[in-house]
Amino acid sequence: MNQSVLKAEKLGITFGGLKAVENFELEIGESELVGLIGPNGAGKTTIFNMLTGVYQPTEGAVYLGGRLMAGKKPHQMAKAGIARTFQNIRLFKKMTVLENVKVAFNLNMKYNGLQTVLRLPGYWKEEAEIDRKGRELLKVFHMEHLADNIAENLPYGQQRKLEIARALATNPKVLLLDEPAAGMNPTETAELMEVIAIIRKDFHISILLIEHDMSLVMSICERLVVIDYGQIIAKGTPKEIASDPKVIGAYLGK
């Protein structure tokens, strides 16, 4: 197997007496697309929160490119190369589309307070660069004409895309998408699949995807991990998963 980019080892978290996730194992290779599915309340988003540093796992560990990521805060995780989107869209609503993306470039910017206040060349150089890079990124998503719009005025599908663009601006190695197709109509979902294809092809980023839209999951994911009640119940290719009796049991009841 090629070198794993993101690896979770025996990951688990307990809230009080409740074991929300237990013994979660995952390995994602370079440019791989893995789907994480399971019924509502199975612990999918909790796993995302552990992988991005929002929750500190009580057991096990997360490795990024072989490095142990213990005790890292979300912004440190983002800097290390894990970017994410949210189940309920979280944009910087009152800021423009371009500014939303620019915020995410901040972690690779260096000009300091003095350069800011005196408007020294360092300021102009970096600001011009992220302006260019931001517009290029929006262009990939066919959103360059919306650059100066206020984010909250965008249609739903565009907001989803903007959130993904913002996540990519942090220059991640792994992208975690939390239900990107939720609430989308079929046209928007098709567009989203196109976007995901672009990300893999042009950016060489591994993706971990939570999704309830089974047609989307089955058609684009290379591997699937199914969890229920915080535990992995099945792993494999979409084809294997679709016929797995345990998975069918979890979704439909035995």
């Binding site: 991005t52 929002v54 805060k73 979300p74 912004h75 983002a78 800097k79 970017a83 994410r84 949210f86 979280r90 944009l91 910087f92 609503k93 009152k94 800021m95 423009t96 371009l98 500014e99 620019k102 915020v103 995410a104 470039f105 901040n106 972690l107 910017m109 000009y111 307070g113 800011t116 206040v117 005196l118 408007r119 300021y123 102009w124 970096e126 600001e127 011009a128 302006d131 100066d148 206020i150 913002r166 996540a167 601006a169 942090t170």
Partner: protein
């Protein structure tokens, strides 16, 4: 984004406006148009502009309601006052000749402002680190408590003059110098907000979970914004001390913090030019209303209520007034920029 050339053009336009206003100030004072009453109002306006914008950084841009701004102002005021008093009495520097500041006096004035600002910023840092773990109401209460602690401490410590106040502070604040200080403060705060730092601060206001996930160290930027706000409140306090020449802890009570907050909210949370407009308006309005002395505060309150009913986001919302844009419109030049993205907000 506007090109660098356009941005420089707007800087130039604003610089010219600033110089013109300064010339106007000089002419008016040489013609004897500015008596002590008028100069007092103008000075208060300058101080309030700095106070309102600095609080706007914490409340409007960072989105954290802080009710202890008068506390930082008083720290700056007392620090600056004690420093210039020491320079005069302890070091024997001649700061004033016949009530007019000497060159050394002006230099010490500027030093004392930076000193007052730094001390206030230090306290901003110390208070900010624990306080900014809280949000909304809780932060409001903690900053309120901090402001009151400072007031009580000043009232009870001996080196601050205690309840009798600090007297005989050299009156080093002259209108011209304070005007320049005010412009520099406004420009610095403006540059700070229009940068990656300001963008990060606004992102935290919009969604702190998303900003953290986008690689913004929230705690760092929250404390930074709070400290910068405290610094400029301290500078404003330093001017205040050396304009009044007498300081008393009662001047920095809870109501002072509220007054500043009202200016920020009325002008628009997240609008620097809005803060300038409302600082001017709310300082001048009670003075214009003096002839209706009995109803003065009543009218003032009604104005506030009316604005809040018809424009709850404040006079300017998050919009920035831009002199460049106004000129372009007046002379029929087409501006292809949406209002919000305008980069060259007016400094005055």
């Amino acid at each position: 984004m506007k090109t660098k050339k356009e941005v420089f053009r707007s800087y130039l336009v604003n610089l010219i406006a600033v110089v013109l206003l300064f010339a106007l100030l000089l002419v008016a004072s040489s013609q004897g148009l500015i008596n002590r009453y008028i100069s007092g109002i103008v000075m208060t306006i300058f101080i309030n502009i700095i106070l309102a914008i600095s609080l706007n950084i914490a409340t409007g841009f960072l989105g954290q309601i802080a009710l202890g701004h008068a506390g930082f102002m008083s720290i700056g005021a007392y620090s600056a006052a004690l420093l210039v008093k020491y320079a005069q009495d302890g070091m024997g520097v001649t700061l004033l000749v016949k009530g007019v500041p000497t060159a050394a006096g002006t230099a010490w004035f500027l030093i004392s402002l930076v000193f007052g600002g730094l001390i206030a910023a230090f306290f901003g840092l110390v208070v900010g680190i624990p306080a900014l773990r809280l949000k909304g109401d809780y932060l409001a209460i903690i900053t309120l408590g901090f402001g009151e602690i400072i007031r009580v401490l000043i009232e009870n410590l001996s080196f601050t003059g205690g309840a009798q106040g600090l007297k005989k502070i050299p009156k080093l604040a002259t209108l011209n110098v304070v005007y320049i200080v005010m412009i520099v403060c406004v420009a610095v705060m403006f540059m700070f907000i229009r940068s990656r730092h300001g963008r990060a601060i606004m992102a935290i206001r919009e969604d702190d979970i998303a900003s953290e996930a986008s690689g913004i160290p929230n705690t760092y930027y929250k404390v930074l914004a709070f400290t910068v706000a405290a610094f400029f409140a301290g500078v404003a306090g330093g001017i205040y001390a050396q304009y009044l020449a007498v300081l008393g802890a009662a001047n920095f009570g809870f109501m002072k913090s509220i007054d500043i907050l009202v200016m920020v909210v009325l002008g628009g949370m997240g609008s620097i030019t809005g803060s300038i407009v409302s600082a001017i308006g709310l300082t001048a309005l009670p003075e214009f209303l003096r002839q209706f002395s009995d109803y003065r505060m009543l009218i003032y309150s009604v104005v506030l209520i009316v604005v809040m009913i018809f424009k709850p986001s404040g006079l300017l919302g998050t919009y920035e007034f831009s002199l460049t844009r106004l000129i372009d419109r007046l002379f029929g030049k087409k501006s292809n920029l949406p209002a919000k993205a305008g980069k060259g907000g007016a400094e005055k």
